[in-house]
Amino acid sequence: MLQFVLKRLLLAIPTMVAASILVFLMLHLVPGDPAIIFFGDQPVTPERLEEVRRQMGLHRPLVVQYLDFVRGIPRGDLGRSIHNRTPVFEELRTRVGSSAELALAAFVVAIALGLSLGLLSALWRGKWVDAGAMLVALGGVSMPIFWLASMLIFVFSLKLGWFPAIGFGGWNRLVLPAMALGFISSATLARLVRSSVLEVLLQPFVTTARSKGLREAVVIRRHVLKNAFIAVITVMGLQFGTLLSGAVITETVFARPGVGKLLVDAISNKDFPIVQGAVLFIALIYIVINLLVDLSYAYLDPRIRFE
């Protein structure tokens, strides 16, 4: 077990190197000169442009730029933003907390809603409960999060006054963004839970369990859910990663700082160090999540061993 974990962690290193090289190359291939973006619509002479390019370190060969970046990593030095010269590590640090807080809260909402909707509709398949739950899920899949977020603000902040509209800086401020983000991702989860549970319900071992005289609740909990969850947990893991790094719209509507927004801004500014740092961080998160997902398989399905 320990060996498995260690092996997976070691394998993470080449994955992250590959991710960083890929991002580095892609950023340099996309058109757009960071120095020109830096000046935007400000008047500038060619000499000043050249000077800023030099300060940004863009005059050095690509390999040197990349190696410089890699060399700093062991020291925890991810470089500085080429636009405002803030250390990348600090830019990430100030936003990770806010992103993680939102991702966790939204994850809880997504799981609670997704699991219960999915289960309800699978167990009452073909009844009105099923139709109702799937209708809600369909709403979640097709509803733009931007619209849902604005509606939540309209109803719960403006009309009812229960929660503030700015979704940052305190627990009561977390409720609306978590509801918006969680609801949207619960929809996918609900549909997945429904189909997985239905699939397992048809398996012979479920019939066996029932014929042994087990109570239906026990059959569902011990035999159906455990088996259905293998597929569900993989998706849940990936969704958590998306919630952490891809909540840009929710962050914008509810005025929250976050890693997703930092990354989007950095890409549009071609702020290489920030993009590299953020991508590395996100890659790390996905690697850890995948590892946890793999470990959870062993718990859910004893046939899976990590030898």
Partner: protein, 572 residues
């Protein structure tokens, strides 16, 4: 006394609650049993109800439960920014915050009118190359060091230091040569060439005086984590993309005479909260989470204007309104007839009505009407007249082709319009222009790009059309940005308009300090820009702010860009 329950598996009732039972396990440890399902659901229901009530009650019985205590102004800001260092930034928002942390040398009270700030008096040489400022002697920076002529020198030298990478400040300081410290409180600022608009720059927050001691002490962190000036508020904390907190400077006794307020500010603190989404920003004003917001969307204009408990501030924005640059470096907009036809083809009144709900006004000139030297004659020069546009194109040999698009020889009259994905209004305006152009046989192709791709395209002159919008209070500077040939070829003059007469006019504007003469030349430059069909002037925006009625004493500069809260009170 015999304990009735001290053996394995014995049931106990806890707290006289029959639904909440536990049992003793083999090790003698009390374990909780599961609650009965119905009881569990009942309790969840009660819990949710209580939570909802606890949130709802304060709202029902205490209107404005989220409102802040008196003396704190919360400000809804429309976006984040690059750095808090006003010397290095390119963001107007940073200027809005920084104006409270620094003091400018002079204050601008009207177009070309200046009042004392940190400088009690000043003189300008006739050729506008030497400015001498006499400073107040009672001023201290937030770090306790006194304001001296040396601080002015350090501030200005830092702007031109390439390591600072100054942007807005750099264009304000223009052809700066050096500063000479004449005595402890007198400084002489010299320019390499005439710079009549320097006082305008000195009145902006970007040339505000900063503490040399702090700059030295904090190095690269100055402006990023700390920012030390002499202003009525001090920087308390800054969290990127979230909020900036300012706190009252308790020692402030040097408020500028125009504010008629010798002591410290009334407000204890100002909290700038960054709320990029406009609907959310307006919502925060209505819930009381913010008391003042900037960039009010035009869709909320009427409602806020007629609101009983909110106040809408509408100030005509100084600078150059929304306009269309036509690239002369690329066919077919290199042809005067085509540009003239475009000028007549665009229905500006229709555009401001459709896109801007008539909150913006149709524009006439490269300068907004409140700018010094604005020429009202320009409003009559190019009326909307599609027939006239068609005639001009016919005469120039552009014939209507089979698909309605004009052709000349083998060339189709197709124009490439490059624009950015945000703001959304950009795209709406472009679509309106596209439809107008189609009516006279011009095919406009919209290329909507992210910032990097857009800047690449227009700096490399691949466009026929691009939008422009700029704020500023100096007409010379505006005209230079738009029309001077030195800014062509990849700079800000993306009309790629190169005309020696225009260059000469612009340089004269900067070299004359006599207002009447200066105005005359500004008028001539505007007329020339229209005669040469350089740009199409579309819409003049107002600066729109809104605040709660409990807020009073807000001062906004005449250019509409900098709300200033030194005299502001919040009264509940």
């Amino acid at each position: 006394m015999k304990d009735p329950c001290w053996h394995d598996g014995c049931k106990v009732n806890l707290d006289r609650d029959e639904n909440y039972t536990g049992h003793i396990d083999r090790r003698g440890i009390l374990l909780m049993d599961r609650m009965k399902r119905r009881e569990f659901l009942k309790r969840v229901g009660i819990g949710v109800g209580a939570l909802a009530t606890s949130q709802a009650l304060p709202r029902l019985f205490l209107p404005g439960a989220y409102a802040q205590s008196t003396g704190i102004l919360t400000y809804g800001m429309a976006g984040g920014f690059d750095t808090l260092d006003v010397t290095a930034t390119t963001f107007t928002r940073v200027g809005r915050i920084a104006l409270h942390i620094i003091d400018p040398l002079v204050w601008s009270t009207g177009s070309g009118v200046y009042a004392p700030g940190l400088a009690t008096s000043w003189t300008v040489s006739p050729d506008a190359t030497i400015y001498t400022f006499k400073l107040r002697e009672d001023v201290r920076f937030h770090d306790g060091t006194p304001l001296t002529a040396e601080a002015v020198k350090v501030t200005f030298d830092r702007i031109v230091d390439p390591a600072t990478r100054a942007q807005t400040a750099f264009s304000f300081i223009g052809p700066y040569d050096r500063s000479d410290v004449l005595d402890r409180y007198t400084v002489r600022v010299r320019f390499k060439s005439p710079h009549a608009s320097f006082l305008n720059g000195a009145s902006s927050p970007y040339l505000g005086i900063i503490s040399p001691t702090a700059v030295q002490k904090f190095g690269q962190d100055f402006g990023r984590l700390v920012f030390v000036g002499t202003g009525p508020f001090m920087l308390q904390s800054y969290r990127t993309d979230a909020e900036v907190r300012l706190i009252r400077n308790p020692n402030y006794t040097w408020g500028a005479p125009i504010f008629n307020h010798p002591g410290r500010s009334y407000l204890q603190s100002i909290v700038y909260r960054i709320v990029p989404e406009e609907a959310t920003r307006v919502a925060t004003l209505e819930t009381g989470e913010t008391l003042f917001i900037e960039d009010v969307p035009v869709t909320d204009y009427q409602r806020l204007r007629s609101s009983r408990d909110k106040v809408l501030l509408e100030i005509r924005q100084a600078g150059s309104g929304w306009s269309l640059m036509m690239n002369q470096g690329r066919p077919p907009t290199d042809e005067l007839a085509v540009r003239r036809a475009v000028m007549h083809a665009i229905d500006k009144e229709g555009l401001v009505r459709t896109v801007w709900n008539s909150v913006y006004k149709a524009a006439c000139s490269p300068l907004t009407p409140n700018m010094f030297g604005f020429d009202s004659e320009t409003c009559r020069k190019v009326p909307y007249n599609p027939d006239q546009a068609r005639r001009i194109l016919d005469e120039a040999g552009w014939r209507v082709g089979p698909d309605g698009v004009r052709v000349k020889g083998s060339e189709r009259l197709r124009l490439e319009f490059y624009l950015q994905t945000t703001p959304q209004k950009n795209i709406e305006m472009a679509q309106f222009i596209q439809a107008n152009a189609k009516q006279v046989g011009i095919d406009v192709n919209l290329n909507v790009l992210a910032r990097a791709g857009y800047l690449d395209a227009v700096r490399q002159s691949r466009h026929n059309f691009q939008f422009w919008w700029d704020t500023g209070t100096d007409p010379g500077q505006m005209l230079r940005i738009l029309f001077h040939s030195r800014n062509a070829g990849g700079g800000t003059n993306r009309n790629n308009y190169r005309n020696q007469d225009m260059d000469r006019l612009i340089e004269q504007i900067d070299g004359i300090s006599d207002p009447t003469r200066r105005k005359e030349i500004i008028v001539r430059a505007q007329q020339k820009a229209i005669d040469d069909a350089v740009m199409v002037y579309l819409a003049d925006p107002p600066s729109l702010y809104a605040h709660d009625r409990s807020v009073s004493g807000v001062w906004v500069d005449w250019g509409g860009n900098y709300p200033y809260f030194f005299n502001t009170r919040v009264q509940r």
